[in-house]
Symmetry: C2
């Protein structure tokens, strides 16, 4: 099955996201998908909280004059902004934009908060919906008109060096985040012509989808003093001078959910990292005539024993076990416990792990210990598997040969790395190879230009 077909299919069958809402590029996070989202963003929330970021919440509407204040920034977004023009039947005096991103609304407030260097640094984030009037083909959780989940962090500092350090901190937080989820990435510095509108430079994380195209999954921007000059975020330095704040911002969206699905999934369906699985262990009672009571009691007993430590569910629906197995395999539940009369007799438990589709037995006395180990092992395994596939998708070339590049990108696909040379690093190269330049990147100690077909 082709990837994009598989992807649509799995969103529906695993009950992640319903695309049937009557606006293009807008859909519904179903309860199962919502839980994956909740656990996933809880990870990044914890990483940000631990590193001194504060969560806040800013308005969704941005007045036209505010959005238009930073010239380059608005140029980058003006074709994609949704405009509110009426309240009831009354035309509004000032048009209001649905936030495409929140630099302008947040920096308007930062000006009010920053007076002296001791007010800095500010490290703030919010998790909100943002909007883009996409004219391109939309795709669920990948290219949306309502990006339902956008984690955006914004910082302000009193020196250039501190802002630079913040970019590094953000990159290290995002590395930890994707490592926790087992999502492989290539970090590159986007070329000048592809940086964030208003930024000094943009660092980006790209992963590679099963069809060999790259997907941008996170960006970190050093904004320098571009926005602080426009928004007059001015502070008094320790020596009594005035300076503009040095800023950074960085974001992660619903695409991380799309990546969890795409990177780890297989022909059977989802394969969820245990840390974000809404159900980590499903217990399926195998009912045999005359043994109903003891099987159900055992299932219940195991449930009670495990529920304090893991997210467990008993599937007591009145359908064949085979159908139950199938349902939970599609939904990517990492572990299944099968409870049958024979196992009860032998004081054994049958476990099934979703990642390898293997069944094995353990002594009941060792159950919790084995589960813990197996869940860790599943995480390690799917992470290694994902990185292996990722590395296989990377082709290192010794020099630039457009025909060779085009051939690789149409057959094997993935990312091509060619040695970095200033003189070839420009927009024309994109035309020559009929692909996108992701940017400059380091790979095994050498500097390369990364080229790929992107989403």
């Amino acid at each position: 099955m082709e990837f994009s077909e598989w992807y649509s299919d799995i969103l529906e069958k695993a009950e992640i996201y319903d695309v049937r809402y009557p606006i293009k590029g807008c859909g519904v996070y179903l309860p199962y998908g919502f839980k994956i989202r909740r656990y996933t963003f809880e990870i990044i929330r914890n990483l940000l909280d631990e590193s001194g970021h504060d969560e806040a919440l800013f308005p969704m509407l941005i007045p036209e004059d505010l959005l238009a204040k930073e010239g380059e920034h608005i140029k980058g977004f003006e074709d994609e902004v949704y405009w509110v023009t009426h309240g009831g039947k009354t035309p509004l005096d000032v048009k209001l934009a649905l936030r495409p991103t929140s630099e302008t609304s947040i920096y308007y407030m930062m000006k009010l908060w920053v007076k002296v260097h001791t007010d800095l640094p500010i490290k703030i984030y919010q998790i909100v919906n943002t909007f883009r009037y996409e004219t391109k083909h939309t795709r669920p959780l990948i290219r949306l008109r309502e990006i339902m989940t956008f984690k955006e962090a914004h910082t302000a500092h009193s020196t250039k060096e501190e802002a630079e350090k913040q970019v590094k901190e953000a990159i290290s937080i995002y590395k930890k985040f994707f490592d926790t989820l087992g999502i492989p990435y290539l970090i590159s510095k986007r070329p000048e012509w592809d940086k964030f509108p208003g930024a000094e430079y943009t660092m980006a994380f790209d992963t590679i989808f099963p069809d060999g195209r790259t997907m941008q999954i996170a960006t970190v921007h050093n904004l320098g003093q571009n926005f602080s000059k426009t928004f007059e975020i001015i502070f008094e330095t320790p020596t009594g001078d005035k300076d503009y704040a040095y800023q950074t911002c960085y974001g992660i969206s619903d695409r991380v959910i799309a990546s969890i699905i795409a990177i780890h999934g297989d022909e059977k369906g989802l394969v969820l990292p245990p840390i974000v699985a809404p159900i980590q262990i499903v217990i399926v009672p195998l009912i045999f005539k005359g043994k109903e009571k003891e099987v159900n009691e055992k299932a219940k007993e195991l449930y009670e024993k495990l529920k304090g430590k893991f997210r467990v569910h008993i599937d007591d629906r009145d359908i064949r076990p085979g159908r139950k197995f199938n349902d939970w395999e599609i939904k990517g539940v990492p572990l299944r416990i099968e409870v049958g009369p024979k196992d009860i007799e032998n004081k054994k438990i049958t476990l099934f792990r979703r990642d390898t589709m293997e069944k094995f037995q353990v002594d009941e006395t060792q159950l919790e210990e084995v589960i813990e180990k197996t869940l860790n092992n599943i995480m390690e395994n799917i992470k290694n598997r994902a990185w292996e596939k990722f590395e296989n998708f990377i082709t290192v070339l010794e020099d630039i040969n457009p025909d060779e590049i085009k051939k690789i990108l149409s057959e094997k696909r993935g990312v091509i790395l060619i040695p970095f040379k200033e003189e070839i690093y420009n927009e024309e190269l994109e035309e020559k190879v009929e692909a996108t330049i992701l940017g400059e990147t380091e790979y095994k100690g050498n500097k390369y230009i990364a080229i790929a077909k992107t989403y």
Copy 2:
């Protein structure tokens, strides 16, 4: 100080919400306020999850034709809806509303999900931002144009009785929620002319603010089959017939945060229920010359000891202790630990509780136990205090006398209860008493009409 002045003042000083955003009725949840919001909505989230509700997330934009589908519903909202008319410079084919509430978007999807009675019940909720183009005077967290936090639950059932039972469950969940926060309430059935647009009937929770005006803090609606007929939510019954689903919906907004502030606060500032306090215990080291090291070490030691069980913070800023005390009193931190050289010598700990402003000493060995007890005691105390004030605001009259009612509502204010009589229960009564009829209510076993000046 007048209440509304106190309220604005405290939002600013306690760093809850910044009103200086350049759109009327839109503001910023600051980190401290955001944490209160987060812990508060975590309580309702848990209550809903435990009672079989599923969290989901629906689109923010609603096409005009969808919103207009249910006649009464749209009539109730049409003057208050914000309209998106353009994407970039392109006029949209169909205008898009910013959701004022989500019945129409959710019920469009429910039609797709419901085929047979076994698909029911559906009990779903989301926590989202909603929008009203308010022409009235806006107030932070009370009457907003962007309601930043709206918890809306929507259910569908196969019988009328089940929907009726769901209304009762919703009421009992909301009771638990407000009881947990110590917010007093009067529950009433709103009069016909004031029910939710499209509902069969509306049950509402009102609390009373310190200025004697009532504040609607929650509503529960029985929608009957009104929406399911419009949106064609049809299911096959066990006997093979077709029927329309029976629906309910119920909501809670940012007003719960406003209530926590207004109901429990005092002249000094916030008094937070420990369960939602971002910091439950603040440790203030009392530094004396020559004793710096031992005091700071002790503070650190206590912090390490308590941080696993409570939300603790050490205030090690280089300012006078008096200023620290004041800051945390304004922010409503329930407990303060003062660490001084004398206490260390005597193996005693000095505690200060915010609700009573009392200081007392405990043996260090009993610290954790005393803290736990004291936090519970604070919760009980502020809850009882709030209910006492609430009861004092209720005046029970034996019969209707418009002049008397007007007098009470202009002097003592609060809620007036008059015995329920069908013949006087109509809109004209509102004109006569120059106040709002909250609805029918039971109070100490009798049925009354509740009258008040409302927010």
